[in-house]
Symmetry: D2
């Protein structure tokens, strides 16, 4: 433990300090409230001003006029509301996308606090658009819930699975009573000893769909419990076999959300001009970095999807926590004839929608409008543009690493010119 080594505190002191403390009076609670109301927010601030490190100035920032005025807009997105966070947004584009569902020149809003990120993605978008755009495709879709059932024995687990397989239609009907847009497309049971994990896969229309599949699967489970001749000893609506909010190797074998790809073929000349390196060196980089990823035990091989995904997800009202699962995929760079460089990204796990969730919040809706992708019928196009944005990011960052401009770009934009040389 660091403590014992750095500051000379004794083991006894440390042991004492880390004991549960049931005697010191606790600070006042933030009172949970099912609704957002100005009165509750005021009470929260009173608590914070009296008992936390926050000052009136902090309150002014978080709970400014607009945060007060738009308070009820957040009714279905937050609890214990104290105001709104502000994240700066930059825009890149136009990014030309020649896709199955996305077609045209897109501007993309990116919300981030990391200097150089927007500039870098913008550079990649410029490169792509300058050669006629990238090709994209939506390859598969499906969102999962995976309830788990503990049976009485391994044999009952097997018989339970056989029963599930024979009752697909009934279970599908039960699930779909809860939703207009969600469709159960597959039931995939997995036995481990006397446990059964049931992967339920749905299409969810233009919504990201996590609530939708939760509620539908709850209904499906109730039908199982009621009708199966093999009663589980206990069961859970989600038993962690769905990949929800975490990177998993499984996503490459199937899909979670939408699986999309984007690719471009670049003339060597443009790489020299715009990225200051060569197509050959870009391929060299890919080879070395792909194996670096493999040996570090990452899932897939790619550079920095997480940067673009987090920034785009935030700016368009997606769930930022889904970056944990979405930021896996495969980037491929391949030198072809006539010094042309093929570059593709394939992401099997884009969880995003153009309706529902945070997409109706004031600034998030604006973000979707900047893309021209708000509302019904736009989710596949959104997923394809997302892949295109990731492609832009990979091109630019790999170009910078190849041209030895990576450190200097960050230094310039993050620290500014006037900064002393030692941070």
């Amino acid at each position: 433990m660091i403590a014992a080594m750095v500051d000379g505190r004794s083991a006894d002191d440390i042991a004492r300090q880390t004991q549960p403390d049931t005697t010191t009076p606790l600070k006042p609670w933030i009172r949970p409230a099912k609704h957002i109301e100005a009165m509750f927010t005021a009470a929260n601030w009173k608590t914070l001003l009296g008992h936390s490190g926050a000052s009136e100035a902090d309150k002014v920032e978080l709970y400014d006029a607009k945060a007060q005025e738009q308070l009820e807009r957040y009714e279905h997105n937050i609890e214990n509301y104290v105001g709104t966070l502000r994240l700066p947004v930059g825009v890149i584009g136009p990014l030309r996308v020649n896709g199955i569902f996305a077609k045209g020149d897109y501007y993309a809003p990116l919300a981030t606090t990391e200097a150089a990120l927007v500039a870098s993605y913008g550079r990649g978008a410029r490169l792509i658009s300058s050669v006629g755009g990238c090709t994209t495709g939506t390859l598969a879709e499906g969102v999962q819930r995976s309830p788990g059932f503990a049976l009485k024995s391994t044999t009952e687990a097997g018989l339970f699975v056989a029963w599930l397989c024979m009752n697909f239609d009934m279970l599908k009907a039960a699930a779909e009573t809860t939703t207009r847009h969600g469709k159960l497309v597959e039931l995939s049971p997995h036995v481990e000893g006397d446990h059964v994990y049931l992967k339920c896969t749905y299409t969810t229309g233009d919504a990201a769909g996590q609530n939708m599949v939760t509620i539908a699967t709850a209904a499906l489970c109730e039908a199982i419990i009621e009708k199966s001749p093999f009663k589980p000893v206990y069961w859970f609506l989600e038993a962690n076999f769905s990949g929800d909010k975490k990177a998993s190797a499984m996503s490459f074998v199937g899909v979670r959300g939408r699986k999309v790809t984007a690719s471009v073929e670049l003339p060597g000349e443009e790489i020299r001009k715009q990225l200051h390196t060569t197509s050959k060196r870009m391929e060299d980089y890919w080879r070395m970095s792909a194996l670096g990823g493999v040996m570090s035990g990452s899932i897939g091989v790619q550079g920095h999807y997480a940067n673009g995904l987090a920034a785009l997800y935030l700016a368009t009202g997606q769930d930022a926590a889904c970056v944990a699962e979405s930021a896996v995929g495969v980037t491929r760079i391949e030198l072809r004839e006539d010094d042309r460089l093929f570059v593709s990204v394939t992401l099997p796990n884009i969880i995003a929608g153009t309706v529902g969730g945070g997409t109706n919040l004031p600034t998030q809706a604006a973000g979707l409008n900047i893309m021209g992708l708000k509302g019904e019928g736009k989710a596949r196009a959104f997923a394809e543009v997302t892949a295109a944005v990731c492609l832009a990011g990979e091109l630019s960052i790999i170009g910078a690493l190849c041209a030895h401009e990576f450190a200097s770009a960050h230094q310039k934009l993050a620290r500014g010119k006037q900064e002393p040389s030692k941070p």
Copy 2:
């Protein structure tokens, strides 16, 4: 591909639509600018209003009075600025933490658009604090860059490694000329054929430190290139062996950022009262969900760290993209004597700081102040509270799954009462 199956477009149509298009005139560029200035932002909006789906109303939301007024505050955090995104923030707490570096009752701000998240984490915090708080510890720290070098042969790769090992002090000095706070603590070379990946590990003071280690490693590499008798054919500042912005199995063998743990022992009675389930069922859940995670090929075993991490990272100015790497770890739940339930979380990859990055932005600084953890000397405490927040989340969500309240909680908070039953 979905396209070919859903809408009857012909293969030829699809092929034509997805070709690069170098003839249609491109929409106007968002002009890259190294500085933020109102004039540039105005130009960006002119472009968007004329050529994207964004309207004046969208501009008013993103580029409101405050976004205009505080424009220069974002100078080192964004490019191509068009305004600020607003994310609702809820607060939970007090969360009592008995840690090595964090000690006291903390309020934690969470920025999210996912209904029920704040309420759920708040419920977990209440449970923890009601039994005297959780114990936390900072176990290790270190941030990596991993340059890669292509040598002339596998033998030269080996000799190059031997040279690196003998020149640690010189390389450390070279790296540390660039930074006041960063210290190179380990050089770990990994040979693959004629390639060498050099994992450089630094401590970074109270900063998350990614820029710091980038710039220091650039200096270190320059020293290598200048002085090594074995000259690489080519090399890259980062060869993807560092785990940067992606989940990797490697993080469990070492550390990336800070490795922290939080644990609590709960009486069965409190679990019944506050979570409406039993300690036995919580252990049952853990067993099934741990193996669910294993079989899905996830890294570590846990429930939903990503939810709490993303929300807390955003609200305190951390890099949201780091959720991709931070959201791995191990949750353990164990039934002990007298119906007491031991629950712990261990996260080896918390990338967060209390200085630098986005921590000085207006609302983000307010978030850190709410926690009382802004500025020098607070980063370890911040990491420990982060672990405690993840522990709170795991307790609440697992409790909900055990009590069969998971779907109904989401239904109630996300859809509201007035919603029709079919979304």
Copy 3:
């Protein structure tokens, strides 16, 4: 590199020694021969005796009377034959198995050179049989080949997939012309950029089936190349997406070979008597070792399946190289009411058969006969007994670790009593 550090050789010496050497005359070749004949073997030995470290005594061991006499028995199993290796075989049992396909008391032959292995598995078998045997089940079956196709563009990749999906019946017919027992049961295409991996899954009767699926898939690919309107630029019969001869996370999401489970419920009293530990401690061990496996980045969580699998595979004519893929799975240990301990193993990747391959070789056939599982209609039973053997091994080794008898057991059996205390 170790060299440079341990023995003071100079970098130049090392560089010189590791250069390709095209001047020193090469030793004489072992002449490749498509058939096994005594004359060829004699020639091979002449070469070895003249140019390797092998002596006449070595020849006598490897190429003894039986190896000479049975030479033609190995015609379809080896090339460049020089004789037979001898591995000692021990037998355990009877192991009572109450399975779907295996039912009765089995003796199992184990070929190994690791002391204590047979004794340990035998102890586990005794424990299982003493409580009425274990329950087993065959849960799924299927063997894969995964050809890969490079298309002209990502769009063609998508259209190619659509074409494959519409031509399943034709492709199935093409594959099945080559085999009496193999049936194509699933085609699963996976797009990455402009590449398509086509997972072809077959049932293979009672054979392990790897050659069968290779030959069938070659025919299937020829049909694709001939008939698809989208011609690949190039393609390969196997593109490494099948998990062949390597552990892969994918095997948990589906099956490779046969997926089997075995479980038993043990009274605490028997654990104390036979394993000298408690059911509680066995559960403690499982918890800690499961997380140890997770954090080491292993696939699945288990102890030492590889030991039992390698020994049983060898003794029964299976392919020992398949241990690399078969030795993954999930062991679960769970303390239940009345001090009863539930223990199960689930292995998704048993590649084994009771016909074909090495099963007809003289001693290997004897191994299968000892089990009573040689020939047609026995492969599922074989797979179930394999799971039961793995269960026996896990019980015994975990018991030894819990009772602190692990090191002493190895010391006693591997080193013998008469050995000095320092090896």
Copy 4:
């Protein structure tokens, strides 16, 4: 479950059949015996002949004259001895190796029952030797045991770790009292909640060393238990964090056994002549198969190390179960100037020795003699030749896949000419 679907047995029948059966009398036990004696073997055979499917003919095969005569040679390698298995052995070579520790032309014995394997590896060896041999290097070494300790709290876990770090010398001395050759080179503690995994890394001289590190770590643990002020609640000698007998991502971050590399640069002309394909196509294959491996969730990227490793390990007295962990690594193929193809393999986890274990058994010693690598001072050379053999195998199999000769080679050698076309 397959059962329920294939043969119409009722759920009740299946449930009855899979129940524990404590009433049917059990067949007679194979009596465990600590020593090997002809009398015991005779008793074992009496049991098998009376109660298993084995016949006198089977006994004659397994327990032939030599197996009887050499019975005591197996005293420290097997229990419950019933005879010896015979595996056919083929030899390849000479394989020219220009290594740090291996230098010269090696013949390699391969024991397998898979047709085409020896022929294929022999073809690869011929290609390598024809261009002056491959370059090899031993990059690192170390064998691990990882005991696990459950402490009273997470804080005690941290303090325990601090104590371990301060007592390295004492613990090293304790471990090394048990062994002449083993040296403790690193102690690496990993905390998870209130558990501590202690990775103990040793060098083990020329032995594979698994028993050695087990016994040394037992002594080390006794010293900990006796002297640490923080007493574990319970502990285990191995807590599954060492990678023992299983593939783990961890092995790439460090080493287990020996980490070795082998590489060669091939003129395009030789590839055309000897492999009937082009260097360009070999690179194409690598790219596609590397990503195939990544997406299947395998550890590392390679083709079929397991084939060569299993065959070589068996023929030289290594532990065949270690194939599960050894068969991971990275194959890299890269097209360079003048149509030259660089190919390398890097294996971080070769567990093999030239003394101890099975290396003294009659035919196994002959195998090592064929290589000229039996006894003290040869283990690193053995590891390097092992890498060279894997390189030979990768070249040949990838060549066959590129030249579309893979299926036909297997068909010809495994099934023979006289076989009907339908197997």
